[in-house]
Symmetry: none
Subunit: 325 residues, 3 copies
């Protein structure tokens, strides 16, 4: 596969993000191993990633370069296969090529009929007995390490707050977003629409966590954009429930912007707004919303303020319906 690196794939100075390269590598590995596993009789299957070996980024890639990804199957066990992937970056203006990355991935074929059924892998032919033997060693080594990690990973204490369901803390969510070129105007300032989309995204996750149902945006209160947000900033978007009526949820969403380059001086509250969400059943009819468990004075105060806004919105809606438009 050859792919041109786009502005959104890179940071402000033009280095392609490692994550973009990892994603290309995995896509190539998935294609090669799925194709191989379907060259036999039996259920059709998809190769699912089980492990990536340690990966070095040998030289940085830049916007405008073409990435060449090649993938080869280098070992097969009964139920898994190893794919080695190489990424070469080519500057198509100068013709210069450099090795950017070498990776090894392990895949397991899962039946399309039953995802939990692992299929057998058709064996490959090796150039020599040594080659097969080396593959087997890599297979044994990774198997051992997998088991060790599995034990370790379970014991790690989860970093989330273990709040009780239906409290404010339980559904509170935040996301960070690194502002990219496509988020920006010609001025290099973030489009207001991009910020609103992120705010709606966080509010939707808060609402879904509270209800565990299909939720949709019902309305957004006025949003003021007090300060412009510059390219290269990180946005932290936080949402928390403030008020819940019988059939709606009010979520306050706060956007903070931090410049990654100028550190603390650049940190400020960029936007905040109230989103109202409703919960829907399968026929798109509103469902009752679980009662919000309030903890502490601040949450109580915010709940009462939310209730006041709710009554005001209701009154306005009534007035609007009564008067011809």
């Amino acid at each position: 596969a050859n792919l041109i690196m786009r502005p959104d794939d890179a940071n402000i100075v033009g280095n392609v993000h490692g994550g973009i390269i990892l994603k290309m590598i995995e896509e190539a590995g998935c294609i090669v191993s799925t194709r191989h596993c379907n060259t036999q009789e039996g259920d059709r299957c998809l190769a699912v990633l089980a492990r990536v070996e340690k990966t070095e980024f040998l030289s940085p890639m830049f916007i405008g370069e073409v990435a060449h990804v090649t993938a080869d199957i280098t070992y097969t066990s009964t139920h898994s296969l190893e794919v080695q992937v190489k990424v070469v970056a080519e500057n198509i203006l100068t013709g210069a090529k450099k090795l950017s990355n070498k990776a090894a991935l392990w895949y397991v074929p899962c039946s399309l009929k039953n995802v939990d059924k692992i299929m057998e892998v058709p064996p490959i032919k090796y150039a020599s007995a040594e080659q097969e033997e080396e593959g087997r060693k890599r297979y044994d080594a990774q198997k051992l390490e997998r088991l060790e990690t599995k034990a370790r990973i379970e014991e790690v204490v989860p970093p989330q707050p273990n709040s009780e369901q239906h409290t404010v803390g339980f559904s509170q969510s935040s996301l960070i977003h690194l502002v990219g070129p496509s988020d920006c105007t010609l001025h290099d300032y973030v489009h207001g629409g991009v910020t609103m989309k992120l705010m709606d995204e966080v509010a939707g996750i808060v609402a879904a966590r509270h209800c565990n149902t299909n939720i949709v945006t019902a309305s957004v209160d006025a949003i003021n954009f007090h300060r412009k947000i510059k390219k290269g900033c990180v946005l932290t978007v936080t949402g928390r429930l403030t008020f819940v009526s019988n059939k709606s949820m009010e979520i306050e969403v706060i956007v903070d912007a931090t410049s990654l380059v100028e550190a603390e001086k650049g940190k400020y509250r960029a936007v905040s707004a109230f989103f109202t969400f409703i919960s829907l059943d399968k026929g798109n009819k509103p469902l009752p919303v679980p009662v919000l468990k309030i903890e502490g004075e601040d949450e109580q105060r915010r709940f009462e303020e939310g209730n006041a806004r709710y009554l005001q919105r209701k009154a306005k809606r009534m007035a609007a319906q009564g008067r011809p438009q």
Copy 2:
């Protein structure tokens, strides 16, 4: 603008996200107002969003429908203008149309030569004196509310941890990602490459917060994918510094998956891995990394474990360079 709504614009049951609609509305508003403000002599300018009035989502929009967005300038003050936007959803199979959204946005024209210079807005003509008077009332009302919100927003206590710079807590970051259709295989399970891309994104933000420089991924330790992640999950990806050498940072990244629909039962640790980042100067040469301030026994233990991994990686690299490949 007419746009077909795609699977990626909607949730699992096919409702288009409110955020996608808000983004379309703002794009239409920005085009109309930028065009208007450039119909005069003087600096070329871009219209920057200052405020969105309360927005109602009147009826849900679905994948495959066509969204029609129309925008009109309805009021101009000396330095701002109001744009009213209407969104109609059309089912092109049945021909049915429904009003999905009505919004009002306020823009301010900023000079392209000097972003802090606000330009004058060319006045529009009104159909009647009443129309102009109503516009002026909306203008005065929003101006008052803007000032009130500005006062309120400043006093809100920032929700971020107020950690000291160069501590683990200072740079720790997490993001949430709602798994969409394009993140998934035909099985409806998340592509491993998508998860790795998110992990690299968080690790990069942690590294940039610690250094305030241009940072790039140098390597990733082996990653094991113990459990498949299903469509409709929310991923919480958290990164924290574990170890810092003279010229590199090790960041542990943890991925937790939660099903939004099945609540607590569905929460599990999906993946974790160690990323190594380096800091670069403008000539792409490695820079020294600020020392990590360790607090408490856990951080000390993790630092020592990180140091051991660092020495091991170094030894392996030396061995690899010494032996023919």
Copy 3:
């Protein structure tokens, strides 16, 4: 549709990729023709792209400009319809508008219940008998050409890679794309516009490799879509130089679709087309193109065929300029 062109839509110097424009054109054509074909009783249906007539890129478009796309149905046969699409680029800062593109596309309505069932097209009314007669001539001409291409398309043999600069092998490129949900219609078939965008991308890489300069799409010869491409397929898009004139390059682009799951049986030639690119200097003026080094009889034959097409295009352009439009 009105759309702001974003950084990701363009190359490093800010020219919007021809593929982005082709994709917008096809989306507009699909909306207009699907809407029209559903204005009757019977199964609901989707319009599927069957052919794009030769398309000229009349003037380059830049990041930040707004693209206006309008589409009209200009001819209907029993089972197909012709849509003419116009793209105007507007600089919203200066108010300048320029015609960027004119295209004609042929669609066939497929039943949503049974994709292989082709529906009847409701007839349109013509302004005059001449208009209808001209439409019928265009219909007959394209039908004939479709049949001819179908015969020719099967015999193409994949050529050999080669490393000497300015040979065909040197610049030959291919990319692999795994079809995802957002690439598809409600039928789960790939949007024609998505395929055209990928074809333009590969052709652009071939052209840049040959010239090492900034290159842009000048025109695309008629494209026939012989078979629908289903979700879950892998597309292999290959481009190679066939002919080079003093100031232009002709690149043949071939699209093969393979089902990952059904292996060899599922492999077929989906589309092929000729793209013409030109090389531009910093002031957007055409540059001379390096001579193409021809190796072997096949390349020689293709070069001569390309030369014939080049002369034909030139003659047509002359004829069009001579006659009033």
